[in-house]
């Protein structure tokens, strides 16, 4: 009888969480296997991400993890030699009405408590930072210069190559069909190709993690909704920060755009009501809706030519916060999912923490933020800002 290959850690999903996790686990000496049903790395939702990275959230968990991610992104090229198109242009949330002014200012109080570099800029000062904003009715906005952007494609791919160099194994075109347990403890996984033994299995399957959880009878409350995005031609830099407009409008609750390092504008809209489900086919309603809103906020975008559009999935949780932590029902099953569209910016910081969880070397800071992401929390709360 042949023995089945055994791994210290098996990660389900080679996406924005699973791929960095593979790198840090392998680097820490764990024998690591990543399984993904798609043909290559980051082909699920990661490649659909637009690449914005910010620490300016409203809760300690995401703030801490993203601050760490920002450190990693900004030094990645020095560390590894790989260019992931990091650009520190900041984030700017604009307010054209008192309602948004109030929301942003209230939020800023909290963000300041975490020592985040964010400030309120009134009409004139904000226009100095973003001269092309529509000045009519502009009250002001927040600007956080420490935030920035990367290429999700290059980032995930760079993690992938370095994970392999560190000894991780990736199997693509391979779907997990069963999670094996014995006496209430994970022992491995079965796929449509083979069976593997493992001490720890990590559910990093994003939009598909409910299905993975169900394999051991866990209800992982993640369901995807879809967002469409697009990219334009390259033009000379005229815009520094990501612009976020949180005013609801018919069909959408907010939208955002930024100029990538390559000179291209990348933009995305949050549909309202949300469009639930796995459909990622392009719709006719997206471009007219988002274009009107963007030209309204920045008339200069009028002549910028759109190159390509796509549609990706946000693995949403009921309260908009990630689900990270050990399963109580089955020993050795770790959840790292439900990033709600922020997997790219959370991924590296979170991946490092996953290693600490498995090594049982949690820091006090980890223990402080874990309850916010607990799989067993009351999902009734609502995130202030998404």
């Amino acid at each position: 009888m042949t023995t089945i290959p055994h791994y210290d850690v098996i990660i389900i999903g080679a996406g924005s969480v699973g791929t960095p996790a593979a790198y840090y686990f392998a680097k820490a000496g764990f024998k690591t296997l990543v399984l993904d049903p798609l043909p290559s790395v980051g082909q699920g939702s990661s490649k659909k991400a637009i690449g914005g990275v910010r620490a300016t959230h409203s809760d300690p968990a995401k703030i801490r993890l993203c601050l760490r991610s920002l450190e990693i992104f900004s030094t990645w090229k020095e560390e590894t030699g790989d260019d992931i198109e990091w650009y520190q242009g900041g984030y700017c949330f604009v307010a054209y009405r008192q309602r948004e002014e109030q929301i942003l200012k209230d939020l800023m109080v909290k963000q300041k408590q975490f020592n985040l570099n964010i400030d309120w800029y009134n009409h004139d000062d904000l226009l100095k930072i973003v001269p092309d904003l529509n000045p009519n009715d502009l009250i002001g906005g927040t600007f956080s210069p420490g935030d920035g952007s990367i290429s999700p494609l290059l980032c995930i791919h760079s993690y992938y190559t370095h994970a392999m160099q560190a000894g991780a194994t990736f199997h693509f075109d391979e779907r997990v069909t069963q999670i094996l347990t014995q006496s209430g403890k994970v022992t491995g996984v079965k796929t449509d190709h083979a069976t593997y033994g493992a001490d720890v299995v990590i559910n990093a399957a994003g939009a598909w993690s409910k299905e993975v959880g169900a394999m051991i009878g866990l209800n992982v409350p993640v369901q995807p909704d879809s967002h469409e995005a697009a990219i334009t031609e390259h033009v000379a830099r005229f815009l520094e920060p990501m612009i976020v407009d949180i005013r609801p409008a018919p069909g959408s609750s907010n939208f955002y755009f930024y100029q990538h390092l390559t000179g291209q504008i990348i933009f995305c809209i949050t549909p309202n009501p949300p469009i639930w489900g796995f459909d990622t086919n392009e719709t006719s309603s997206f471009l007219p809706m988002v274009a009107q809103r963007m030209v309204e906020v920045m008339p200069r975008l009028k002549n910028l030519r759109v190159r390509r559009t796509w549609r990706g999935l946000y693995p949403m949780t009921p309260d908009g916060f990630p689900i990270v932590g050990w399963a109580r029902e089955v020993q050795g099953f770790l959840l790292a999912t439900g990033m709600c569209g922020q997997g790219i910016m959370l991924g590296p910081g979170l991946a490092e923490m996953l290693v600490r969880l498995v090594q049982h070397t949690n820091t006090p800071a980890d223990d402080e933020i874990l309850p916010y992401m607990s799989p067993y929390r009351d999902f009734g709360g609502q995130e202030m800002l998404k």
Partner: protein, 698 residues
């Protein structure tokens, strides 16, 4: 500044056009009203339109078809494709060097909701198949919108100055492509149920079964058809070789557009890569426009195009190098020479066989791929859809006309109209018209040397029969059940009255008459001729050539004349010794000197071969990834940016597949890259419903 306009053409009339002034880098130049920026710049001798923002490489015209985005210029402050944008009086145009500045806009433009239009049928493409389909629908009163991205209908027919092959009964064979376009358009315009949108580009078929259309170049509209007919034609394949993005390397379609539509002379000395019909015909068009054709390479041992097209070129003095490939286009910022080499049976260049030729332009005519993305998306999204012409299967325009006709009826039937049974014979004709060239038979010269003998220099089985309808006595026979059979002269030496209708009527210029009656030792030979009459006069001495291109001798011209049934094809009569008379198939047009190789071959110094023109990705980079085991083109795209550019992967996809093939990777291991809208780049303001003229509010 030299005027590079064509002033005289044997087939095309030179229209009177209103001149206007525009500025290129602040220099005042003259254009003609209605012409594209690209045509105006070429007419003024400007062939470098900018420099790429990534590596500063020179950019110019490549596709001239609105697809590739190499011809970007800054016109009145906005980046535009020079090949699609019409030049306006007083326009200030600058080269696109590096990243363009996005112009400031001072206020929010007025924005209208995007119009949504319901229509039974949307036809994408107003070329031969789209027009034919629309005519069938128009005849039955079906309401349809036909869109085409160009300013006039006809698709690539408007570039085809030669007379068409095919079946005289079914598809206008014997008529010039340009005239077929006019006839189809006239027929179509008689039907009020068909709405025609010109300068209107399909951008995407969406999953909600709607089609986004850029209407008249500036308004975004959403069309909701009950059924979609995709007749969007073909795109040219690109080729990877050193120097392949130098200005002066064009797709053959681009060249034909500049010469035959825009009436500019983009080259003085041309070299052609590819011996299919497209390359062969482009060579003929070049000669007619007064451009020298230095040579043509074809990688296969035989040209893939019709032999009569090849023969025509060879007779005029164009050397054809079969089993040869292009190694490099040479020059610093424009093409100055080409280097070719012989290839072995695996298409690898044979060392020591390289030679170079002086030329200023290189045409790439290495085949076509269907533009079928809208059809595939429609199928994926369950929008009822049909596909016709080259978008379905690459073939001659005559086949596209016929397949469009059939598809038009199928669409009508789909909509519940009684169209009767589509005759089985139509499908058969359609198949015949699509067929590739068949056997080449060896033809003996006629033995008779008395009376008058028509000599048919057509010995390859191709779908073509206009000659069979030309002889007033019905003496030229082609089997009407299969028009691929070779024509036969049924008469004897006393039947022919030298009406010369067959001479001027054969689309392949492959029939001559030998008249022995006056002087059996020095018969008169009537030869078809499609160059301006002024170039040949009585008593001129010319070199006559046989079908294979062998010079037979120098003979004296007796007359150059036209006959009443002739459509711009002239007859040149020469007197020739009886030994060669029946072998004469044509007249050498260009001097042998222009086709001579350079004394030494030129080695190209560029680093590597470009695969993705938009993002400047090299074959070496992609090949390295394939060797590392990459099989998902999406991943190759991630790492290299290949196919992320402005053209939407229209040029590089075929080459990436070719690289996989060269590396021995089976097709079923390759994961295709995901296809996403939109078809061409469109300003955000257009999607926002800001339909004011571009450039206002600056």
């Amino acid at each position: 500044m030299t005027d590079y306009r064509i002033q005289q053409h044997p087939i095309l009339p030179i229209p009177e056009r209103k001149p206007l002034e525009f500025f290129w880098s602040d220099q005042k130049l003259t254009a003609y009203e209605g012409e594209t920026i690209a045509a105006a710049l070429f007419a003024n001798g400007i062939r470098i339109f900018g420099h790429h923002h990534m590596d500063n490489s020179p950019q110019g015209i490549f596709c001239a078809n609105g697809q590739c985005a190499q011809c970007l210029v800054i016109a009145d402050g906005l980046p535009v494709k020079a090949c699609m944008e019409v030049v306006k009086a007083g326009m200030h145009i600058y080269p696109a060097n590096g990243l363009p500045e996005l112009p400031k806009v001072s206020q929010v433009p007025a924005m209208q909701p995007v119009r949504e239009i319901e229509i039974p049928v949307l036809i994408i493409g107003g070329g031969p198949s789209g027009l034919s389909a629309a005519i069938e629908l128009g005849k039955r009163g079906v309401r349809a919108i036909l869109i085409d991205d160009k300013q006039r209908l006809g698709g690539k027919l408007v570039l085809q100055t030669h007379r068409f092959f095919g079946s005289a009964n079914a598809v206008y064979a014997g008529t010039r492509g340009i005239d077929i376009a006019t006839r189809l358009e006239k027929d179509l315009r008689a039907y009020p149920s068909i709405e025609i949108w010109l300068s209107s580009t399909a951008l995407a078929v969406f999953s909600d079964q709607k089609v986004g259309v850029l209407y008249h170049g500036h308004e975004y509209v959403i069309v909701k058809p009950k059924v979609l007919l995709v007749a969007s034609g073909a795109r040219e394949k690109f080729l990877a070789f050193k120097g392949n993005t130098l200005p002066g390397v064009y797709g053959a379609g681009a060249f034909q557009t500049l010469v035959n539509r825009d009436l500019v002379r983009p080259a003085e000395k041309l070299f052609i890569v590819g011996g299919g019909n497209v390359g062969l015909i482009a060579g003929y068009h070049a000669l007619q426009a007064g451009i020298s054709v230095v040579g043509l390479v074809e990688a296969l041992p035989e040209c893939g195009g019709y032999k009569v097209h090849k023969d025509k070129l060879v007779r005029m003095g164009v050397p054809i190098y079969t089993s040869h490939t292009i190694l490099s286009a040479n020059g610093n910022d424009k093409v100055e020479s080409v280097t070719i080499a012989q290839v072995d049976e695996k298409f690898r260049p044979i060392p020591g066989t390289a030679k170079s030729f002086e030329c200023d332009s290189i045409l790439i005519a290495v085949g076509l791929d269907p533009v079928n993305e809208f059809y595939l998306k429609a199928k994926q999204f369950n929008l009822p859809a049909f596909v016709a012409g080259d978008a379905e299967e690459i073939a001659e325009a005559s086949a596209a006309i016929f397949s469009g006709k059939i598809k038009g009826l199928e669409v009508a039937r789909f909509l519940g109209l009684e169209v009767g049974e589509i005759p089985a014979a139509w499908y058969r004709t359609s198949e015949i018209l699509k067929s590739r060239p068949g056997k080449t038979l060896i033809q003996e010269a006629p033995e008779v040397t008395t009376g008058v003998i028509p000599v048919i220099h057509c010995n390859q089985e191709i779908p073509c029969n206009p000659c069979s309808a030309l002889c007033p006595h019905g003496l030229i026979y082609v089997d009407s059940r299969d028009i691929r059979s070779i024509p036969v002269f049924l008469g004897n030496s006393y039947c022919c009255e030298v009406c010369e209708r067959c001479v001027v009527g054969c689309p392949g210029l492959a029939i001559t008459l030998v008249d022995y009656r006056n002087d059996p030792d020095f018969p008169i030979v009537s030869i078809p001729y499609e160059f301006t009459r002024e170039t040949l006069k009585s008593k001129d001495v010319i070199t006559v050539i046989d079908t294979e291109g062998t010079p037979l001798g120098d003979v004296e011209v007796i007359s150059t004349h036209s006959i009443p049934t002739s459509d711009r094809t002239l007859v040149v009569q020469v007197q020739a010794p009886k030994e060669i008379a029946s072998r004469i198939a044509g007249i050498r047009i260009q001097e042998a000197a222009v086709t001579q190789p350079l004394a030494e071959y030129v080695d190209h110094i560029a680093d590597d071969i470009i695969v993705c023109r938009c993002e400047r990705v090299t074959a070496g980079e992609i090949r390295a990834l394939i060797r590392q085991g990459y099989r998902d083109i999406n991943e190759i795209k991630t790492v290299t940016r290949a196919s992320m550019g402005a053209c939407g992967a229209k040029t590089c996809t075929a080459i990436i597949h070719r690289l996989f093939r060269e590396e021995g990777i089976p097709v079923d291991e390759i994961i295709e890259s995901t296809k996403r809208p939109i078809f061409i780049e469109v300003p955000l303001g257009t999607f926002a419903g800001a339909n004011g003229q571009e450039g206002e509010n600056k």
